[in-house]
Symmetry: C3
Subunit: 205 residues, 3 copies
């Protein structure tokens, strides 16, 4: 089940990467690379940080084909995508939750301590988008727009709490998805953001 | 033979990094770091992604000296470099082909599957330039200008095809270089580019 | 002793990251992430490059709490920080020296060759700041302002020279700190910079 959601999620993330590449007028090769990086970059950084070799996608070429194809497909259907905006945001939210839970699971299996497990979930959830924004020359939006990284954090905490309480994995997944999707959709609907820190120095590092 | 071409290649890439640093008015320390990163960053990322430790340059200090020296030398001769533009682009093209083949070889030896082998070649070929552009605050040019990443991709495919057909390594190298250099030079000469994807959203991630 | 200085140092670096995030109007989650990355990113990249798994901070959650807390605290006290500018720069200079020495020690222990040991020190010292600047969309200041990377380099060389001469570790640390702090403070006081390389091409990669 989580695998299917994961594959939907990396497809959605690949499309989000392609759109960002299109805003920078990249060629279709760049679109494929950014799509791949957005979808699989978070998991890659998690695997490297945790010393979890071989990196996941190197053992599952299907993920590579899927994300690059999603990116290239986006080039064709981009003109219609504003009609699909809500669907797209929903898929992206599913991806955020799925990535977070998968990231936590990997770190749990490797027996890292709890705060690292939570961070592994969040890194999987949000670093693909950060890499996308760095490669496309934007300040990472996950730190500026509606609740996103925070949803990943709360999902990780909830998932681990239920897991440690011995809740059955299926129920835990259902609860985490229900909670995460509700949070994210509510954040988008009401424009919920974290407080912002604005600092304007004279000359300062 | 490939080793000599590799050393010429990292020298050329180091110089390209230095020029990019110069466009951002970096100090000579920054020039050295960007030169090193441009020349050896692609191979470093490949080694990390493939779990191929120790990373290559840590075992060959000569590569470090060579790339940093190339960067610093560039500071001295930059004013003459527009006279050397064609030579420089030729060396850069040789580097692209050499990096790609070396990257494929490393992944082949580690018995990764074919698509990862191709990606390892491309990552070695193009990620140094991507790191250079990120550190120098540019949208990566490998995704915007004349065919570059595509040449790396096609060279990887050709090299692996000939290799799997049992073609002798020397002949394979000669053919891959002939093909790759011709492609890249033709792309520069005729301004060949991939189609570009331009996307201008209203407000959109 | 070095451990205490290290903890002061990552606190100072976390605060520097938070200020940079504040210049980009990030939310408090972004502030925490940038604080963490600035403080622990250099050591993380060192560990990955050297194949030194598990990455240090994954085994010491206290470092995670400390850096994120320092970032969030900065949000509260930012308005008073211009009064603390000199203290802050001193802590930052202590961090640079401490990070450099720790980075060298790690690479020495793993028996890398000398130039890699020096680079490990410098990477630990300066790459947190580079990651901060990349995530906050700035050209890395360590390559443009008063001597910083150079101080890291010279501290590494001095520390290794005294170490190879058999100087007692405590005396070596004292000497390295005295030298590094003096250099960095002198650079700030007199505005010492390395020569800059400015290159303005017509159209050039």
């Amino acid at each position: 089940m989580l695998t299917y959601i994961y594959m939907i999620a990396i497809t959605a993330e690949g499309m989000s990467g392609a759109l960002a590449a299109g805003r920078r007028n990249m060629d279709i090769f760049g679109v494929g690379v950014i799509a791949f990086t957005t979808a699989l970059g978070g998991g890659t950084i998690r695997d490297i940080l945790l010393g979890n070799f071989p990196v996941t996608w190197t053992q599952h070429p299907i993920y590579i084909y899927l994300t690059v194809s999603a990116g290239l497909l986006t080039v064709v259907i981009a003109r219609f995508m504003h009609h699909l905006r809500k669907l797209f945001l929903l898929l992206d939210a599913m991806g955020l939750v799925a990535f977070t839970i998968i990231g936590c699971s990997v770190a749990l299996r490797l027996e890292y301590n709890l705060v690292v497990v939570i961070m592994a979930g969040m890194i999987t959830g949000i670093f693909g988008g950060i890499l996308r924004d760095v490669l496309c020359q934007r300040v990472p939006i996950v730190f500026r727009e509606e609740l996103y990284a925070s949803v990943s954090f709360l999902v990780a905490v909830l998932y681990l709490a239920l897991d440690s309480l011995g809740v059955h994995q299926d129920i835990n997944l259902a609860a985490s998805f229900a909670f995460g999707l509700t949070m994210r959709i509510a954040a988008l609907y009401w424009g919920l953001k974290l407080p912002t820190f604005s600092y304007d120095p004279g000359r300062w590092h």
